[in-house]
Each structure stands twice: as structure tokens, then as C-alpha cells.
Symmetry: C2
Subunit: 182 residues, 2 copies
């Protein structure tokens, strides 16, 4: 009951995600959001809480989308297959023209905790898929492989933001894969 909301909450959330993705959290003001979302500030606060809650919800939406690179490559068996699948998804995703370039999580200073979680998740994923436990050889150690992949994804994300095209990213990924055992 009560007066119904005049705007589509999900569409507004997508708009907010788009803005945060393009400009970052700090650089996106409430005024920017109300303009892009086509609603007034009180409606925004009533629907989403405060700015940070809106950002967190947008990030959750981002992470829930099939863009997620972390769990890509489930089909692989060897470390190279697993990391290769992740890099493939990333290279395509980071220059996709349907949305801003790069990865929202990997290029947001305020999401360091999510990056840590992603690295841990990647390490567990690699260990599970390849069946390899901790190993002194960096090429066989799931934690090192995950940290390597994670660092590369961040580098690819930043390169995409700085203007690199898909072919350049693909060459980087191809070269990087040579470090990883079959």
C-alpha cells in the first residue's frame, strides 16, 4: 500500500552501476546519480539508503552478472587450461563496448577486500580443478597461480582502461600463458 514508486528500481540500479563503473565511487556525486537516474535525491535515499549502500548494491549486481571471471574455466583440468579460460573471458570482457572498460572491482580502490576475496576464491578454484595442493614450484602452487592470474587481470583491466585494444590484451594473455604448465 501507499503511493507506488514512479521509477524502475532495477533500471536505476543499472544506471548507477554504469556511472560508478565509468567514474569511480568518489568521482560520482549524488547530483550525477539523480540526473542519470532521472529521480530526485529523496527518492534515491528512500530506495537505496545512502550513497555507499547504493554502491555496494551496484557492486553486488556487477558480481552476480555472468561477467565474473573468477569462476571461469571450470571446464579446464591443467593450470594452463584454467588460467587460459579466465584470461580469455577477461580479454573479451574488458574491452566489451556494451559497458565501461576494465573491471569495476579491480579498478576501485575502495574494494580491496573484494579483491582479496576474489584471489582466495581463485586459489581455491585452481586447487580444486587441478587437484594440486600447495607446492614449492610456483607453476604448480595454486596460491601462486591465483596470485599471478589476479595480478594479470588487474593489469589487463588497467590497460583496457588506459586505451589498449582487444588484440593487445590478447597478446599479453597469450604471452602470460606460456609461464603456466600444461
Amino acid at each position: 500500500m501507499g503511493r507506488p514508486r514512479r521509477f524502475d528500481r532495477d533500471a536505476a540500479l543499472d544506471q548507477a552501476l554504469q556511472l560508478f563503473w565509468e567514474q569511480g565511487y568518489d568521482a560520482t556525486s549524488i547530483a550525477d546519480l539523480t540526473r542519470a537516474l532521472g529521480i530526485s535525491a529523496p527518492s534515491l535515499y528512500a530506495a537505496f539508503g545512502d550513497k555507499r549502500a547504493l554502491f555496494d548494491e551496484a557492486v553486488a549486481r556487477y558480481e552476480a552478472s555472468p561477467r565474473s571471471v573468477t569462476t571461469a574455466g571450470t571446464a579446464g583440468r591443467t593450470p594452463r587450461e584454467v588460467l587460459g579460460a579466465m584470461l580469455d573471458v577477461a580479454v573479451r570482457e574488458y574491452v566489451d563496448e556494451d559497458h565501461p572498460r576494465g573491471c569495476l572491482v579491480n579498478s576501485s580502490p575502495e574494494l580491496a577486500d573484494r579483491r582479496a576475496a576474489n584471489r582466495a576464491a581463485t586459489a581455491a578454484h585452481v586447487a580444486q580443478v587441478t587437484g594440486v595442493a600447495a607446492d614449492p614450484d610456483p607453476g604448480r602452487d595454486p596460491a601462486t597461480l591465483a596470485a599471478f592470474a589476479h595480478a594479470l587481470l588487474i593489469g589487463l583491466s588497467s590497460s583496457a582502461r588506459d586505451g589498449a585494444d582487444g588484440a593487445q590484451l590478447a597478446r599479453i594473455a597469450e604471452l602470460a600463458l606460456r609461464a603456466v604448465p600444461e
Copy 2:
């Protein structure tokens, strides 16, 4: 002639660099700077111009210091030696406790142009030292080697900021080096 400046301009510039490095450009306010530098706002503006000019001067100071990774590894001959030297310097530098973690240039959104310049400089450096011109093999192409190194440096910088220790960074670098031919 006239009243002499009461503070050390170079020391103040170092303090400003420290703050920008820790917090980033946007997150560092003039109030933060006047507090850390121990001077009032008019003195700061008289000495450095405006906030962006102060930032640019601090970045120039940063790039002029021997921290620069881009030109490291001049001694090397093979791509692996050149990149290995760069990664060695970076791994040590990014966790050095004498200053904030990571690389100021690689973690500042407003310095995308400097990153592009660094990538180009690295490519020229690799080409000159190894004597290799453009090559279809990613492992022999200076531009791809430079882009790979650049992406890795950004990933290492971000990982250091997110809390990775020197040993972790070293393992990433060791693994990455396996991608690069002798």
C-alpha cells in the same frame, strides 16, 4: 629580497608526495596538505600554484627518483634479463617500508597518460637492449613484452597495495618470467 619563506620547499614537496601516494589525488584535500606540511593555505598556493600543479610537481619528483622501474635492467641482453631486472626492482620497491606501497603512477587514475608514456618507453628500451624489431612472436616482440611487463607491474603494484608481502610478489614475478624467452 622580501620576507624569507619559513618552511623548506623540498621537504614540503616530499610531504605532499607522501600524502598523494597514500591517499590518491582526489582523497587528499588542501586541508590535509596544510596540516601535514605545517603551513597555511596561502603559503601553499604561493609556493606551488594550485592543487593540481602541486600534484604534478610531486609526481615529477617521484619519477625523477631512482625508484623508476622503467629503465631498470639496462644491463640485460635477453628479454628475460631485461624484464627480470624490472620485476626485481618493482618487487623490492612496491613493499619498501620507507614509503607507501605500490607505484604512485600505476595506481593513480589521473595519470593514464604517464602510464602510456611509460609503456612506450619500456617498449623502446626493450627493443634497444635486445636489438629485436617488431616480431609476430609475442615472446620476441618488444611492444608485447613491454605491454606484458607493464600489465604485470600494475598488478604487482595493486597487489602490494592490497596487502601482499614481498615473498608473494617475488613468486608472481618468478612465475611470470617463465613466459619470457632467454
